[in-house]
């Protein structure tokens, strides 16, 4: 019973949300496989569960407690301050100022989404791309921002006029399903974008995106391709793997695994872990079944831009 134990508390999305709860849990599972630790999780059904779930893990049986999502920010803070000896880490949230026993894990998602936008602009036949989100909140819209700016850079460099439907980075308004669980919205919204000419769509709405994949599967990938988000969707949605042009990775599994390892080897230190292209906390997945379809020049350009972003010569904010 003295094995190292990592515990996770999910937000209301649940452990199998095909999104960040699941990806973070994958980090724990990786640690179980690689380092032989024990792992357990508690799901929250509503916000008032956060504090209660955290409390029930505070009996000392967990070596590190991982919480997921910005909604748990306050609850985690309260618990961490009341239990300074307990190690915590929160995914997708940062404290300012930092708390000594909490590691915040945040991601420069726009960097990876930027690459996706560039890629998509290079791949579109119709010259129209589409994106939509779950709700209009920054964790969602950073993807959309990056995507649009990436496509713009492509236009700039190639003199094309690829447009992105569904998000306007200036007015901060766009296309949103209003939820993260109605899969058929994913299909309908993708259909809407498709009807307006889009042939590559990036849904940023958790499992709702699976509905978009289903539409692409039906229409055929010549007509519609999907860009996945969070995890490599060819892995999390293997049945529809062929429709994903690529995925914008937010490597929560990797950062979670890192944090667990640091807690194990004693190097744990409160503060911030930022996933970037540079440290591979974010990135672009492979091109899956489009590996051959993506021109070599485009691949080269992407590598060059990646480097540009890392060294700061390319801004992902469109400035």
């Amino acid at each position: 019973a003295s094995a190292f134990t990592a515990c996770q508390v999910t937000d209301t999305g649940g452990i199998d949300d095909s999104g960040f709860n699941q990806t973070a849990w994958k980090g724990v599972e990786d640690a179980i496989a690689a380092d032989g630790i024990e792992g357990r999780f508690l799901e929250s059904q509503q916000e008032s569960d956060y504090a209660a779930n955290l409390n029930s893990l505070l009996d000392g049986s967990c070596d590190v407690i991982i919480t997921v999502g910005f909604l748990m920010g306050d609850a985690t803070k309260t618990a961490a301050e009341a239990n300074p000896d307990q190690k915590f880490s929160i995914v997708d949230f940062a404290y300012d100022p930092t708390i000594p026993n909490v590691v915040g894990q945040v991601y420069a998602t726009e960097q990876a989404a930027f690459l996706a936008g560039y890629l998509a602009a290079g791949m579109t036949q119709t010259g129209i791309l589409g994106t939509f989100g779950g709700i209009n909140i920054p964790p969602v819209t950073v993807f959309m921002d990056g995507f649009v700016h990436g496509a713009n850079l492509y236009n700039e460099r190639h003199g094309t006029s690829v447009s992105v439907l569904g998000w306007n980075p200036d007015s901060k308004e766009g296309l949103f399903t209003g939820n993260f669980d109605q899969l058929d919205d994913g299909r309908a919204f993708a259909q809407n974008l498709y009807d307006e000419g889009a042939d590559i769509v990036m849904p940023v709405a958790g499992p709702v995106g699976l509905g978009s994949a289903s539409l692409a599967d039906e229409l055929g990938t010549d007509a519609l391709k999907i860009i996945g988000v969070d995890a490599d969707q060819t892995q999390t949605d293997p049945e529809k793997a062929h429709v994903y042009l690529t995925s914008v990775l937010k490597r929560m599994d990797s950062t979670v695994h890192q944090v667990i390892q640091s807690a194990m080897d004693g190097s744990f230190e409160g503060g911030l872990v930022v996933g970037t292209l540079e440290n591979e906390g974010v990135g672009l997945a492979g091109f899956g079944s489009f590996e051959d379809a993506v021109p070599a020049e485009l691949k080269a350009e992407l590598d060059e831009i990646r480097a540009g972003i890392i060294d700061g010569s390319i801004s992902v904010t469109g400035m």
């Binding site: 916000e47 008032s48 504090a51 709700i135």
Partner: protein, 382 residues
Amino acid sequence: MSTSIGKRELDDAGRALLQRASGGRGQFEDLVIVPIFAVIAALVLGALVMLATGVDIGTIGKSFVALGKGSVGSLNAISETLTSAIPLILAGLGLGLGFRAGLFNIGAEGQIVMGGLAAAIFAFSFPGLPAILLIPLSLLAGAIAGAIYAGFAGVLKATTGAHEVITTIMLNLSSFLILIWALKQPYVQVAGRSDPISKSVPEAGQLPRLLDWIDPNLRVHAGLFVMLIMVAFIWWLLFRSKIGFAFRASGENPDAARYAGMKSGLIIVAAMGTAGALAGLGGASQVLGVLERASPGFSAGIGFDAIALALLGRSHPVGILLAGLLFGGLEAGGRQMQVDAGVSIDLIGIIQALIIVFIAAPLLVRAIFPWGFRKDKEGGAA
């Protein structure tokens, strides 16, 4: 006529009419035995579901122990049960009152959202006020917001006849969107956060925790008193007050109510408004007592659970109180089940549903457990 109402000397024949029919064994069976069997039957079926999905017997046993432990097994468990029950009961009271007045208001969820949002905004807008003012005023803000939101459906029904089921469903769906929009407004959103979360309720606006002198983690808060007062108040309102009489009369027979000079439009708006105020209060107490700020989805389906609650409690304040405690216990116990046995918390939903089925259909329980009841016909017919 010379006879005046009110003061009358009664003869023996008159006094005989004042005998109340005693409930007898049938009532006892319905009130005590049926619920006990209902809980047992629900747990057994819940166990079968777990077995069917490959959970082993040991774990099943462990999870039921955890259910008990998590709901009433410790001070913390009781505190959690009460904490969960507070908003459920408040919203349930509102729905029950609406049902009594013949209004099928399923809008508690939206009213909770509005109430909670308003309470949070009010509380952080006046951080300078002392607790003695800030808490009641914030609660009031929540109640008023809920009342207005529900009153909207009431006014529509009273003036155009628009069915409240439709309008309240639509208002529920709209409320989530309004909430998210509101939480992104600079005035509401907490500084330095990019996600939609309201500013925190200042210390003085928070409903004080009742047992934090024993253990700071005990979350039961002063909303408990608000809830209990409301149970008593609604009981009084429905069964003792004039307006309650009018509510019940219009609920049972709107034509008779009109005949009796009750204003149907006014009653609809008043009943919806009161119901909305209660749901809003539920939202406010959740925000001021537990969450300490408003965020997307803070209503967490309380308004929908409250429908089941109001129905289960037969729209009677005391019934709703008991049903709310049961639901709160299941919620708290369900969390413990997850912690101790690793069983998915979704199972609690199934058990909840089964318990309601059995409580609400005494005939079903009698059919399953025939030996638990007397055979006579009188006892059975309610």
